[in-house]
Symmetry: C2
Subunit: 481 residues, 2 copies
Amino acid sequence: MSKEKIGITVSKNDDFSDWYTQVVLKAELADYAPVKGLIVLRPDGYAIWESIKKSLDEKFAKLGIRNGFLPILIPESLLSREKRHFAGFIPQVFWVTQSGESKLGDRLALRPTSETLAYSLYSKWIKSWRDLPLKINFWNTALRAEIKSTKPFLRTSEFLWQEGHTVHTSKEEAEKEVMNILQVYKSTIEKELAIPVVTGKKSEKEKFVGAVYTTTMESIMPDGKALQMGTSHFLGQNFSKPFEVKFADKDNVENFAWQTSWGVSWRLIGAMIMTHGDDIGLVLPPKVAPVQVVIIPIYYSDEEKQKVLKKANEIQNIFVKKNIRVHVDDREELTPGYKFHDWELRGIPLRVEIGPKDIEKNKVVLAKRHNKEKLDLSFDEINEKIESILDDIQKQMLVAAKKILEKMTRDVSNYDEFKSELEKGGFLQSPWCGKEECEAKIKEETGAEIRVIPFESENSSKKCVYCNEQSVSIPIFARGY
Amino acid sequence: MSKEKIGITVSKNDDFSDWYTQVVLKAELADYAPVKGLIVLRPDGYAIWESIKKSLDEKFAKLGIRNGFLPILIPESLLSREKRHFAGFIPQVFWVTQSGESKLGDRLALRPTSETLAYSLYSKWIKSWRDLPLKINFWNTALRAEIKSTKPFLRTSEFLWQEGHTVHTSKEEAEKEVMNILQVYKSTIEKELAIPVVTGKKSEKEKFVGAVYTTTMESIMPDGKALQMGTSHFLGQNFSKPFEVKFADKDNVENFAWQTSWGVSWRLIGAMIMTHGDDIGLVLPPKVAPVQVVIIPIYYSDEEKQKVLKKANEIQNIFVKKNIRVHVDDREELTPGYKFHDWELRGIPLRVEIGPKDIEKNKVVLAKRHNKEKLDLSFDEINEKIESILDDIQKQMLVAAKKILEKMTRDVSNYDEFKSELEKGGFLQSPWCGKEECEAKIKEETGAEIRVIPFESENSSKKCVYCNEQSVSIPIFARGY
């Protein structure tokens, strides 16, 4: 149980990739499954996912979205009905070909996404305008075989996500829904996970296969690579036509419906680890931490032990009444130092240390995980201030992450500069003529993609960073995960 | 929109099976998926599952059980490590043999249950007694190809369930966990779903493949067939040995751990539909109803409409404050009669009717779904009594179901009587010598299985209903789903 053995043995700056994997495994968020490319979530990892789920569920409910369940198996004939969509997914589809001892007639796909299945059902369920809008969300997993090297939370062949699918009578209403969802996502990601995002559109080349357009949220990781945090797609009538999602309007005229689909995945957990973690390990924003405050009793005799544990339990009870997730670490035979280190590795936002001397002085020591600040607080103060201290930590973590995002975002209008700046990582804001040819050339020559075209940059009259022609927007270019 | 079209067209007594399917589909709980044997949950069906989940999660947390995530793909080599277990499941396993365009080296099973996967991980995670007990639950789906005819919720090739897997240092602690879980299940099923169950053990022949013994809860459906409501297994060291789930005890001696596994599935929703439904449709216990009270405003003029809607919203607000799930059905162009029928079909426990005359008289009409009782209540009374009215409905539904269970349970000690009584359906309590031979003969000759050996009947000194030798217990025999 030496520090070396359980601690992180590499610095975040020296080897980001190894650092990340060590944090995931040693903080016991996840582990590798026996099949390559698949991971398991341990209770602390899953608890973070449940926090995200709860936050989104509450916001979805306010938008009139309800949850449902779809099976994982989709017949090939259904999956292939929207041709571009199918072509986009087919290299990654897992196929079931056998059941028990018998070979299946038609092979069945493990859901890479459920548009095709959901819409074949929607077309049965929707008869008239009365049935619309129809808004259903599905919490499930999607399966896409990853050939590239996999990374827990960021690139796995099965991932936890939610996929929402809505149907509307009008284009306007559907487009509004696309934006409402993007706002819901942004709010959860910024306010709960303390990760700032840039919202905008994907380029034609990068949009979801089958969508009219894709809106997206992008963030930048400390290693300078961009990460897509979630997408909300306007599908127009691209699916309602092949899947016959039609409704009779008030005049009893039949129309094809307007649709949206949208999703975020456990990739958000990966982004949170990368954004906030440090050389000691995980750093959790209070809102999603499975344990928000850990209390460490410190004693050297049985008499002290009794006194200290009594006080620790008192403080615990105060926190429980405030709905703070608190844990008293009363494990025997482990030193306080070992415990400090254990909970720091696990990223618990606040540690309360309490020993006999503290009790005499009517105070405790508070240690903040995110900035390593320590302070003494009287028992009264801790009762009064604990909630605002947690709130402040939550806010400070977002502010710190925002500063990094800003620092890593640069305006670049010259292609040589573009290439050299790109080597430093980060977001490059560079004017673009809108032609897929320039976008493809940039990607080919530098590895940078258009990650997002920020909404506010959609009108631009500068010169394209690649061809020098009139630009139409200022996308964010970056190399990505 | 005639009554015939949306209503249930067959009586529960005349054709139970068709009645059941109609209720599932027409109350919009579920629908068939394009792949035979698979179903989809619509929002009302999924909301019931979420209620069950919430109830169990709260109770699991009190037992120190946390949730995790396991991937759906299990390598064949792992699934086959416990031989009897594998042999039991293999006829029903779906196999993935292809990913994208490439054939997989080893075929991968879609999880029929996760013992093998979970325990291969547990063996890595557990080092010493400090790591125990380890208690993790997984909310996911299991896949078992159904060859027999499928039935929504009761027999489907993919089903929503939870599977819990715990590890302990001692046999005693593990066996206690098995019973704790059974109690948790019983409490949720009786208090939330209002379905009475008989708890006890499965026979050796009927136990979970790989378990030392299986405890179970059985209920009887109105058609006289038994339904297994959930099981909690004592695995002993049957899995810890092949999977090397070992721990160092306080003296640093290595031991094989003691394990349990347990699960309930969406089959509980099927049982709830069957137990409480009637010729009009679904009848929901208030605790799991997505909407507990529906308010129907009744008016014939615009002036009345305004007045009535205002009052309806007032009452709605009162209910919302009491955390009652309430809905005002203000759909235009639909008659109150149509709405009454629609919500009755959907099984909403309470309907509040409010028209201009009611407002004059300062009262509303309350209609209870489960016993079709109607009563007038003043506005004050409704405010005071609404919660106790819902509580009473919940309790009355369980009492009614208990009466049916009692009526359908008979003591039978003679084999001729056994055969004739069996034709009437229900639970037959018959002494048994404990020999698998008699059990098998009874099954072969009558189709009746030992559904459960009630705990209180485990010592019996009567004569076996089949061979007339000394009995060891009085199991419940029945034909089952």
